[in-house]
Amino acid sequence: MENGRIAIPSNGEGGLDGQRSGHFGHCDVFTFIDVEDGTIKNITTLPNPDHVQGGCMIPVNLLAEHKVNALIVGGIGMRPLMGFREVGIKVYHDAERPDIRPVVEDLISGKLPIIADNQVCGGSGGGMGPA
């Protein structure tokens, strides 16, 4: 990834050295990583609104409004995944590593895979353990 904004569902305060949230819809904050010419230029966070049953399009719209280009998830449900595709946000998948930094670095260097339809979990919970 040469340019763009990456979002990572995060626990606590988030940040590049923070921990990812395994539960997309229930994360505390989204960490935003702005990339220019293949390098990290800026890091910010955005609180995730309270989760409401059936409200999984709310964070989809939130990230779209904040010009996010790519999202890294440990797990995501089919409806929000299709929602992200609808608004043009690419969704990448890593269900193993809980730290933010290595998955961001892998995405920037083109090593992180786009999530496949058969990797969608039953719900918005992820493969990285408890939310």
């Binding site: 409401v52 059936g54 409200g55 999984c56 904040h66 449900g77 929602g83 969608v120």
Partner: protein, 135 residues
């Protein structure tokens, strides 16, 4: 508030729900008698909510909601299901369903559904307004 789609081969199944919704201003109710006709309607028109019965004859309600997602993931859906809570949760995970309605939903269920829909719509509008302020 917009168009609302009721999907059931048997209108009496959702009659109490329809009665309450008709008492609220702002909704225009449309009916589809089967899953395939509902899919065709969603491909052509914009709806703020679809309420789907449990068995549609040509497919189950859950199958229709899965197909809705492929057509329009932004569509809010409520579904009638006789499954107990845990089984329903497992069967519907990832589909982002607003609310599980009991078989033959009553007027109180309709009120709860509309309250929940309003909450979702208000959150969405609030988000849009905040973002607009920032821009």
């Amino acid at each position: 508030m917009g168009n609302l789609l009721l999907v059931s081969p048997d209108r009496t199944s959702l009659a109490s729900l329809e009665k309450v919704i008709r008492q609220k201003k702002g909704f225009k109710i449309h009916w589809a008698k089967s899953g395939s006709s509902a899919l065709a309607a969603v491909q052509k028109n914009a709806y703020v909510l679809a309420v789907v019965d449990e068995d549609l004859g040509d497919m189950t309600g859950l199958e229709l909601v899965r197909r809705f997602i492929a057509v329009n993931p932004m569509l809010n859906c409520a579904i009638v299901s006789g499954l107990e809570h845990k089984a329903f949760h497992e069967a519907s995970e990832g589909l982002g369903i607003l609310i599980q309605l009991p078989v033959q939903p009553g007027e109180q269920d309709a009120v709860a559904l509309l309250q929940h829909l309003n909450r979702i719509l208000n959150l969405t509008n609030s988000l849009a307004n905040k973002t607009g302020d920032q821009d």
